[in-house]
Symmetry: none
DNA sequence: ATCTCTATGTATAACTT
DNA sequence: TAAGTTATACATAGAGA
């Protein structure tokens, strides 16, 4: 891959080379273009291919050079997907993104740590599960569950609680002990997860349609989440 | 914005200009760098700022020139978020991404899993879910959790516990109260579920490869899936 | 779609202010 | 910490295979 670059022999490093047939090649070379929709379909597609790979390359470089997490998705107008992520899973980055949004949406003043009314369980579990990631034992789950039961009072915190529980499950899955499970058992678990997932998805989509939030509410939400002076 | 480019007077279009003090400025100019982590923190940060804005600019250009949807997120290692999207909402793009994932087929094994989830068990769940719609209350969750905590003793019961937990979540999802939740929250839950699912899947596949149990385990699994008492 | 090739537009590394 | 400068490295438009 990298070797391909070595093939460059002529014009290396921008040095001009007089080929002798400058007349016939006079049209060649990069032209300046306006940043607006390329009308010609063919040209547009060629440009898309080139720039897409360029963009992904840049994204990768940024993540490597600066040790940052980068997630990138591109949808063509015909629905084809191109993606890149610096880690193993774009989904992880998306999760992180949404957690980030949630954190910001809770209160305009993020530095104010007194958010008792929001979700005590949330913060509590968050901390503990983060601390427990590397010293895993089965007891961890019980602990988390116990505190959950105690703190689980109002309906408003249900989702948050369940979400955090899921995090706990996830770190549980990563533990060595989990590997001892039978393949069949794992598949059973997978099946349950997928079932739950399907339910939530259909409900969510239903809710979005009901609320007509595709065009309106989501935008409002994003306005809230987005600060104008972002970069 | 665009006007800034007009400021260039010297070295415009790459033409060399002898400033007279070439001696003192001999060190200037871009150097080639390796694509690997920049060790110097300060330098890394400067590079990050430059390249981040460059990347976002490229992303914007791609979306405009080629009429494609682009979503980009960058997390610094200290948790700061930078984002870009071609439309008005990154969440829309993320949702589109998730819908895309749902529709696409993965590895052969995963195809099997997906087929399976479309049939018998799914129907079973469907029925149960419908029956549970009107008798839900928050207390139920606590109950389930409580018994979970009690039963959760040895590593061997982890799977059972997790399974029960998922059941709890699932019935919770069916309750009317759940619909009050924010769409964003639901998506977060979805993402967490998917993350957990991915982890389990990869572990399971790994285990299957290790044990060379491709053939016989799948049969066992199919038996299991066809059992009505799965949940 | 992907590669080549030229010529040039742009991004950006190292420095300076 | 951010903005500006210089000189160069890299990306890519246009044309063709």
């Amino acid at each position: 891959m990298e070797n391909k670059k070595e093939k460059r022999r002529v014009g290396e490093r921008g040095i001009r080379v007089d080929c002798g047939d400058t007349q016939t090649r006079g049209e060649m070379g990069r032209k300046k273009i306006e940043v607006k929709l390329i009308e010609d379909r063919c040209n547009r597609h060629v440009t898309f291919c080139k720039r897409r790979s360029g963009l992904i390359k840049k994204a990768r470089e940024l993540s490597v050079l600066c040790d940052v997490e980068v997630g990138l998705v591109v949808f063509t107008n015909r629905g084809r997907l191109y993606e890149f992520c610096s880690g193993n899973s774009l989904l992880n980055i998306i999760m992180r993104y949404q957690r980030h949004l949630q954190g910001r949406s809770e209160s305009p003043i993020d530095n104010d740590l007194q958010e008792r009314s929001q979700s005590p369980i949330d913060n509590d579990l968050q901390e503990r599960s983060e601390n427990l990631i590397d010293n895993g034992s089965g007891a961890k789950v019980s602990e988390d569950l116990q505190s959950l039961v105690k703190n689980h009072e109002s309906d408003e915190t249900i989702l948050v609680s369940l979400g955090k529980l899921l995090q706990t499950i996830q770190s549980q899955v990563e533990e060595p002990n989990f590997k001892k499970l039978d393949v069949t058992q794992m598949m059973q678990l997978e099946n349950q997860l997928e079932g739950t997932l399907d339910k939530i998805k259909s409900q969510r989509i239903e809710a979005m349609i009901e609320n007509e939030c595709w065009t309106y509410s989501m935008d409002m939400a994003m306005d809230m989440f987005n600060s104008p002076s972002f970069y």
